[in-house]
């Protein structure tokens, strides 16, 4: 029956909607209060640390959920806190490199523990 199928889809969607919002809010609040960074900043920093060195902003954006402008501004906020650095890319001067600073790596390590705790609580 097609109505049953629709009911299932909607139920799955609502589940996704509420789960996402619950976890995202909890994570955002915990990261903000314990480490002074929001969820988007942490996600960007997390990927930067993971990738290692010399990551181009465009590359970073390609596997993130944020728009180009939102990511650019998230990096702004990280930079203002001294957690990442932008540097020129000599090969292609349109691009820029973004690298975590030492402080950024430390902050990331600390914040990862918070993420772990929250994710275990909500998704564990």
């Amino acid at each position: 029956m097609t109505a049953l199928r629709e009911r299932q889809l909607v139920d799955r969607w609502r589940e996704l909607l509420t789960t996402y919002n619950t976890v995202a809010n909890a994570l955002d609040h915990a990261l903000q209060s314990e480490h002074g960074i929001g969820l988007s900043e942490f996600e960007a920093l997390d990927r930067l640390v993971e990738v290692g060195d010399k990551c181009i902003l465009k590359t970073l954006g390609s596997d993130m959920y944020l728009s180009q402008s939102a990511l650019s501004r998230a990096i702004d906020r990280l930079e203002r806190q001294g957690l990442v650095e932008r540097s020129m890319c000599d090969n292609d001067r349109r691009s820029i490199f973004v690298n975590p600073t030492d402080t950024g790596r430390q902050r990331h390590a600390a914040a990862s523990a918070t993420r772990r705790r929250i994710l275990a609580e909500y998704l564990g």
Copy 2:
């Protein structure tokens, strides 16, 4: 091993993050362009139609993902389009009733087809 467990949790979280954002964006755009309402408005309208009559705003908010103020403003937008009506609740004059109008029910029926299509495409 605890590192493996962490990796699994983070992977699940990223999956949730990207799935949610992909589906939510697709739904929002489709609803907006085809029916002139955003995702939050549709979700509120959907629940109002589902519940039936004489739904109190507070009750509606209790099983939604939005904050109280965000819901209040989503209802504002629906009301401005003539899709729902607010009315006084005589039992408790702090509360208000919110009901879909005939136009609202029609819009909801049309928009439901769009939701069905998008959900089937992304979650089917």
